[in-house]
């Protein structure tokens, strides 16, 4: 595989975490423009763990995931009372709050004679684990793929268990969900925890690929795109948001023909899909049909 392909695939993989993260909340009936906050938290926490504290890679990534999940759950606590537009704005505000915090967050320690760690708006350099461990881009793509497979596996387990059904019931009719004995608040907090952890996993993996992160990378547009991926790809299956990423990054960003019109084409595409298929390309009904067809 050539370097370009590897980098495009890595990007697709990394954005998929964000897209799945926003998708989990969409399933639960919540529109979040702010999942990039958890991506940033994962990136910073994972980076600090391996670069500053010199933790092993897996442990560092795990730390980022746990922190993203815990903060996701904590933020959901007060916001479960909000709905629709109010919730969406709260997520946006929180993401910008996180970014402002990172702009002033400095935590540098001397490692092997060099100052390492986040330095406010100047960013966080030398997250060098992949370089030091001698992991090539192709190998790192394998790590990203493994992480994504783990997330898809987790969602698949939840689809076989009760988790996805609970999320979908709460997402479709929270009042009915309550009358069916579901604890709606707890399910919403669980969804936000899961979504935070998934985005943070992507962020931690991103930081170790990029080796450099800065607050400006985690802007609102990332969040808007992450949300749009699930909406166009479809809410019926976890492959929906990944399809959305594939369309945007795989097609629009990577093909020269589109490159200068990418945002226009993407915006038009989102509008078109939402008009024609309000629940995305792979919506619930389509997915059920595909499943029935596969079972035959």
């Amino acid at each position: 595989m050539d370097a370009f392909t590897i980098s495009v695939l890595s990007n697709i993989g990394l954005f998929s975490f964000l897209a799945i993260s926003a998708w989990v909340l969409l399933i639960c009936g919540e529109i979040s423009f702010g999942q990039q906050a958890y991506f940033a938290i994962g990136a910073y926490a994972g980076g600090i763990a391996t670069a500053v504290w010199q933790w092993p890679f897996a442990l560092g990534v795990g730390f980022g995931v746990v922190l993203g999940a815990v903060i996701g759950g904590l933020v959901a606590w007060p916001t479960t009372r909000l709905s629709g537009m109010h919730y969406a704005i709260a997520t946006l505000a929180f993401a910008e709050f996180v970014r402002s915090c990172l702009n002033v967050f400095s935590y540098q320690r001397e490692v092997d004679g060099y100052l390492t760690g986040p330095d406010g708006a100047n960013g966080f350099r030398d997250i060098r684990w992949a370089y030091e461990a001698g992991v090539e881009p192709l190998g790192y793509l394998g790590i990203i793929a493994a992480g994504l497979a783990a997330v898809i596996g987790l969602i698949a387990c939840m689809a076989r268990g009760r988790g996805m059904a609970q999320l979908r019931i709460v997402g479709e009719d929270p009042i009915l969900a309550g009358m069916q004995g579901l604890n709606v608040n707890r399910i919403r907090i669980a969804a936000a925890t899961l979504a935070g952890g998934i985005a943070a996993l992507g962020g931690a993996l991103y930081a170790h690929l990029a080796t450099y992160v800065e607050p400006a990378q985690f802007g609102v547009m990332i969040g808007v795109h992450s949300l749009a991926y699930g909406l166009i790809g479809g809410l019926g299956t976890v492959f929906g948001p990944i399809l959305g990423v594939l369309v945007d990054i795989g097609l629009l960003e990577s093909l020269r023909v589109f490159s200068s019109y990418r945002m226009i084409v993407f915006g038009g595409l989102v509008a078109l899909v939402l008009i024609l298929r309000p629940r995305g390309i792979l919506d619930e009904k389509t997915v059920r049909r595909i499943q029935a067809w596969l079972r035959r």
């Binding site: 987790l154 387990c157 939840m158 076989r160 268990g161 009760r162 988790g163 059904a165 609970q166 979908r168 019931i169 479709e172 009719d173 009042i175 009915l176 969900a177 309550g178 009358m179 069916q180 004995g181 579901l182 604890n183 709606v184 669980a190 629940r279 619930e284 009904k285 059920r288 029935a292």
Partner: protein, 250 residues
């Protein structure tokens, strides 16, 4: 397992409208009460209070002696109250099967969210498909509710209610929009599958169903209970005929 219900002085208002005004109703375990009254008399509101969907302005609801005041709808559901909806409340993006299964997720341990053993899945599947079968819906299990007829949708709501195995069932106009033959069919299904071993309150305008299922009825008018007693006796009551049928006392 059937529950005893005690409703004491229950009132609720929406703005200026007094939807319920000091209503008292007692149900002994296993009793089936028909609830009738003109439109807007507060029948559905009573169900909304019983399920915790709305909070009463005054009064108390006791389920087997347990005060439901301040309990959330989900806790009340777990205590064993389940209902159907006059206007139907189905999950239209979920399959018929998942609609019935929706009643089975309460009380499940966290682990179940991520993992159900194949045996547990099969057991759940068998029991829910049996349930759908009773209502003639097993063929439609993978369809969406939108692909059902109105009658099938009403059946599906009752199937979902049964899936929760409640102690007290609240049926809100289960035969609304049905022909006489369809009403007869649902009456039989309710009699054989829903009522045995449960307490029930049945709201219905169709006397065919009420007379067949409810030995006792209560009548609401403008939020007040104006009659309560053996069905034949209440229906013969002149005040009831006046308010409900608009008929002159005879």
């Amino acid at each position: 397992m059937a529950a005893a219900v005690e409703i004491q002085g229950l009132s609720c208002r929406f703005g200026g409208v007094k939807a319920l005004d000091a209503v008292d109703i007692r149900l002994s375990p296993g009793e089936v009460l028909g609830l009738i009254g003109p439109n807007g008399s507060g029948k559905t509101s009573l169900f909304n209070l019983l399920t915790g969907h709305h909070n009463p302005e005054a009064g108390a609801i006791l389920l087997d002696g347990l005060d439901l005041a301040g309990q959330s709808p989900s806790q009340i559901a777990r205590f064993g109250i389940a209902r159907t909806f006059q206007n139907l409340r189905l999950l239209r993006r979920l399959s018929v099967y998942e609609n019935v299964r929706a009643a089975r997720h309460a009380c499940a341990p966290l682990r179940d969210a991520f993992w159900l053993s194949p045996a547990a899945r099969r057991q759940e599947r068998d029991s829910l498909m049996n349930l759908l079968d009773i209502f003639g819906l097993s063929e439609k299990a993978q369809k969406t509710p939108a692909e059902l007829t109105l009658v099938q949708m009403r059946h599906l709501e009752i199937a979902r209610l049964l899936a929760a195995d409640p102690k007290l069932v609240l049926l809100d106009e289960p035969a609304a929009g049905m022909t006489s033959a369809e009403t007869q069919a649902i009456t039989e299904v309710i009699a054989t599958h829903v009522l045995p071993g449960r307490s029930a309150i049945v709201i219905e305008h169709k006397m065919q169903l009420v007379a067949a299922l409810c030995p006792r009825i209560a009548v609401l008018n403008a939020g007040r209970k104006i009659a309560d007693g053996p069905t034949g006796q209440v229906l013969a009551d002149s005040a009831v005929r006046q308010s409900y049928f608009g008929a002159k006392p005879c």
